[in-house]
Symmetry: C2
Subunit: 370 residues, 2 copies
């Protein structure tokens, strides 16, 4: 500890004396905006300096004293830190340049709670209820009847076709701007049926820490989800710090046209892309154009994304969140229907993917109530 | 001038004394990498300081003393600078936060030369020649016969159907990684038939300066082109400083499958998306999820992109590059076939879009020969 401190002090003095005031600066100004020149500091790393200015051994990292405080000190946590350390260490054989530090995250069940039903389905049901007065026929017609009566079994009785019909009726017909407003209004008022908290509070605190930790280390974090791209974008920047252009998802087609004297994009009741399973690497290639070096998922819908990520050249990292915590959240895997995790559990040990047990690896699940 | 200089000096002294060493720093270290903490300086702005630390009137900007040196001092150049100044000035009614500073650029004819034929068509022709030994039937079959004989008229004789057929035969069938290698190999060796320079040297120097100027002012610059997304990504980072994830274009479908013991994405001979005309706002919405505040194009294929950009709320900017320089490049507009600029010329004055005359507004067209 003394050694560490004196090295730290030596580094600072060395820095100041030789006019390398990065260390001091980093601590003095958290966010200093100066016209087209914004100084933002998210991590302060103090390294032992050789020829003053050449970072050598990392000695101390302030914001990252423990970058993952909601994780128990298990092998899972260590594997994340070890990977990030080795790919960000200049000169290391595993070093990855900042531009190639791409990490992709599934959303439902990986970043937020997806049980008892995917959140977007609750949105669809509420939207069908709101539209019902204009569709008297829905009272007798499935899957709409089921939605109006909160009869989930009836909704699922018609399989994928029924679900698709429900999604199109509830997600199409508006302009993109109108839809964004609908989502924003809904997400700020709707509550989870069991936890009675807004869905955006039922995000996983340990995963929020992973997102922030990666970004502080130069990663670009993306969501790659089977959920609707325009259902996710309106709230993800606030909830996860992920901007719209880094949110990839399933989509319906849109059409450019003039309405009321201005151009709009109208959402059509036609599937454009299903961003699930083998669709995920396809979408990653189309939207990002680079292969990620880290991928995080929780179900077999994420299998190909993690496979694509971890079979690239160089250091690679795959992680599966295993829902083992029936007390604090939900416990499910091989028989979970839409959220099934089966092949992933079998293959992870062979492929070196980390399987996180929510029960054992996570100190907390959701953020503290506000 | 004296006033300016003494204000500058006062600012620096004030900055140093009160431990705001940004100004000094900015000039001392061009790019200082310090473990997960990289300091990159692209612009140094010196403002008159009120309460030391609060930027007020901009006095001097070093890197940007003239941010657009290859532009003549005309109204076009001034309109770009005026717009960037007002949207980046904190407290201005037109101020736009960094996250929303999105600028989109067409590629062919806007960032690089598209005459006498779009560059990608030369690639397609060369690729058809390379594949010809495996397709003896092409010798007698259009549009392949035309491609093999450099008979451009014959290629175009079958209209869009013929072109599409040529593109699919030359662009599909490989994996995405193989295709990237093909493009990289070709783009580093192929030369423009008239200028006898690599195509990546036939980019517009004045536009490179606009790209750099915008990025130095917090903009995210995107390419939104009718060209193939995977034809453009391999070289645009080097040529324009635009990373793959900010390149949007037309695409063919890909399929995820295993080949030779590893997963690959195979390029299928099937159109996925045509990123032209009304497709451009559709793609912008899908890929970026935000409406740009600046858009740059050169043909009627860019009309809807510029329209969508300039009809949003707040300060907006649209610009059309008009090819008026038959001596240094090519002169074409209303009758230019694929590259036709007709509606754009009629509508620009009514809509406040800037029409740049290459002949009058640009000091130089291409970068100096290396």
């Amino acid at each position: 500890m003394t050694t560490l401190r004196s090295s730290f002090l030596a580094s600072v003095i060395c820095g100041v004396v030789l006019l390398c005031p990065m260390l001091v600066l980093g601590q003095s100004f958290k966010s200093f905006s100066f016209k087209s020149f914004t100084f933002k500091n998210r991590t302060v790393a103090v390294d032992q300096l050789g020829d003053c200015g050449t970072p050598q051994k990392p000695q101390w990292t302030s914001a990252l004293a423990d970058p993952l405080p909601s994780w128990n000190d298990t092998a899972s946590k260590q594997s994340i830190i070890d990977f990030v350390t080795k790919v960000t260490k200049e000169g290391s054989p595993d070093f990855v340049p900042v531009a190639e530090r791409i990490a992709t995250f599934d959303n439902d069940g990986t970043l937020w709670c997806e049980m008892p039903l995917p959140v977007q389905l609750y949105f669809a049901i509420d939207r069908v209820k709101a539209l019902a007065p204009m569709h008297p026929e829905w009272k007798e017609q499935q899957p709409f009847k089921g939605a109006l009566e909160d009869d989930i079994k009836a909704i699922f009785a018609n399989g994928e076709r029924g679900l698709l019909e429900l999604m199109m009726a509830s997600h199409a017909g508006t302009t993109t701007e109108e839809f964004e407003t609908l989502v924003k209004d809904w997400i700020t008022t709707a509550k989870h049926p069991q936890f009675q908290r807004p869905y955006t509070e039922l995000v996983y605190q340990p995963m929020l820490e992973v997102l922030a930790y990666l970004r502080a280390n130069g990663f670009k974090t993306y969501v790659v989800s089977g959920g609707g791209i325009e259902f996710m974008r309106p709230w993800m920047e606030k909830a996860y710090g992920i901007p719209p252009e880094q949110v990839i998802g399933s989509s319906i087609k849109t059409k450019y046209e003039w309405r009321d004297g201005k151009p709009v994009l109208v959402r059509l009741p036609e599937l454009d892309f299903n961003d699930d399973k083998a669709g995920k690497p396809v979408a990653i290639n189309k939207f990002i154009g680079r292969r990620p070096i880290m991928a995080f998922g929780n179900s077999d819908g994420d299998f190909e994304m993690i496979e694509w990520t971890t079979t690239g050249k160089g250091a690679r990292f795959g992680l599966i969140v295993h829902h083992t915590d029936g007390e604090r959240e939900y416990a499910y895997d091989r028989k979970a229907g839409l959220a099934r995790l089966d092949k992933g559990l079998d293959e992870s040990p062979k492929r070196g993917w980390i399987v996180v047990s929510m029960k054992d690896d996570w100190k907390t699940v959701f953020p503290t109530k506000k």
